[in-house]
């Protein structure tokens, strides 16, 4: 399969990428690892008029500590997030979730910023970012703005990124030694989650239980009110409207959400 023709421009810097976005207009797309975008282009589900390549920009890659947070550059590859000593010690849930994306080859190319901007509700990293209460840094013509994970995902494959803006970094709170749980139910190796659950510090996020990664708020409130893990988990699917597909109907997904939440909470408790 071959993508439709497009113009290609490699950006020299993040600032240059913004200039190119302004120049090429709304039909242009940013390209980093390309592991969400290129498959869609090959299937002709996406046919941008121009690709602006930021995948090679060093200023957008790398991992550092900044006070109470870790800052991960948008073009940092999944394998580098998963293998980072800093992430493994300070945000182990994020390292674990990056290690669950696809397969080794995919993790060598795919980027954290690309996965979040693509905003697939069944994907690992959007759910992890919501569970962690992280945020994204968005660079635009007017400067940098920060958007909390809970506000970033606005619909199926939709985010609060505006045309002309670039997701430049990801921020997650540092939580060394804090228990966490992560459950991903798949039918095939390296597949997206049929349902996923990430839990840490009283927050529970669900993958593929709606058009965006959602919080299991009823279960969170029960936990905060002193309910047992099993009681809290039994509320995990409250208010969810998951899609139905060949793998699972709504009832089955909601069942999975409750079972996986209980397992995640048990793992979190150690």
């Amino acid at each position: 399969m071959i993508p439709a023709p497009f113009e290609y421009a490699a950006a020299d810097s993040a600032e240059h990428a913004l200039e190119l976005l302004a120049k090429f207009g709304d039909d242009a797309k940013l390209l980093a690892g390309g592991h969400s975008l290129l498959p869609m282009m090959k299937l002709r589900l996406a046919f941008p008029s121009a690709l602006i390549d930021i995948g090679h920009l060093r200023e957008l890659a790398g991992i550092r500590a900044d006070g109470d947070e870790l800052v991960i550059g948008a073009t940092t590859r999944h394998a580098d997030v998963a293998g980072s000593d800093l992430v493994r010690s300070q945000a182990p849930l994020l390292a674990h979730s990056a290690a669950q994306v696809g397969d080794p080859q995919i993790r060598h190319r795919g980027t954290i910023g690309g996965s979040l901007a693509h905003a697939d509700p069944a994907a690992d990293l959007p759910m992890a970012l919501v569970a962690l209460g992280g945020s994204v840094e968005i660079t635009g013509p007017g400067g940098i703005r920060t958007v909390a994970a809970d506000d970033f995902f606005t619909g199926f494959l939709e985010t609060s990124l505006e045309p002309g803006e670039l997701l430049s970094a990801v921020r997650v709170p540092r939580r060394p030694g804090t228990g966490w749980g992560y459950q991903k139910f798949v039918r095939r190796a390296n597949d997206w989650a049929i349902v996923g659950v990430a839990a840490i510090d009283g927050r529970i996020a669900l993958a593929n239980m709606g058009p965006v990664p959602v919080r299991a708020r009823a279960a969170e409130q029960a936990l905060a009110g002193g309910a047992s893990l099993a009681e809290a988990a039994s509320l995990a699917a409250e208010g969810t409207q998951p899609a139905e597909d060949i793998h699972a109907d709504r009832i089955y997904r909601q069942h999975l959400a409750r079972v996986l939440t209980r397992r995640a909470l048990e793992h979190q408790a150690g």
């Binding site: 399969m1 071959i2 390309g34 592991h35 394998a79 397969d103 080794p104 080859q105 060598h108």
Partner: protein
């Protein structure tokens, strides 16, 4: 547009369409046919090559994304007429049946052993998660990768 990259140690400069996938560039422009197009959807791994030593799926990369970088295909593994230890091990352990997935399996295994020179059997199976053998000959493939790790540890590198 003009793209410069290194393929199997050779510097190349070619005029390519931006939409030319790396696997098509390797097969059609470089005449390197080891990397196969299998599923064409980033699943099967038959098109696996090394990019700067790391395994990648060349059906899901544009040639222009490899500009300035090092690409290695299965043709680039043997040195001085000697099979690479991973190739040797696939031969010895009969790690192939029809052979279609083999170049991708070998490249994924080379990438895996570069990152983890002494993997357990479970780590080999997880490390090859991105490569399908539709003959289902996984047992011998895993044996071959473990044998290659042992051979490399014993200093049998060519």
């Amino acid at each position: 547009m003009q793209v410069q990259l290194t393929v199997n140690g050779q510097a190349r400069s070619d005029d390519v369409e931006p939409r030319l996938l790396l696997v098509h560039y390797l097969r059609q422009r470089c005449g390197l046919r080891a990397a196969n197009v299998g599923c064409d959807t980033t699943s099967c791994g038959a098109c696996t090559v090394l990019l700067n030593g790391r395994s990648v799926k060349s059906c899901t990369m544009l040639t222009v994304q490899a500009a300035g970088q090092d690409v290695t295909t299965a043709e680039g593994l043997a040195a001085d007429g000697q099979l690479h230890p991973v190739q040797q091990a696939f031969r010895q352990e009969h790690g192939l049946q029809c052979g279609f997935c083999t170049p991708g399996m070998v490249m994924a295994a080379v990438g895996l052993l570069a990152e983890n020179p002494h993997p357990t059997e479970a780590e080999v199976r997880e490390g090859l998660e991105g490569n399908f053998c539709r003959c289902t000959g996984y047992h011998n493939i895993v044996r071959a990768v473990l044998a290659a790790a042992d051979a490399t540890a014993a200093g049998m590198t060519p």
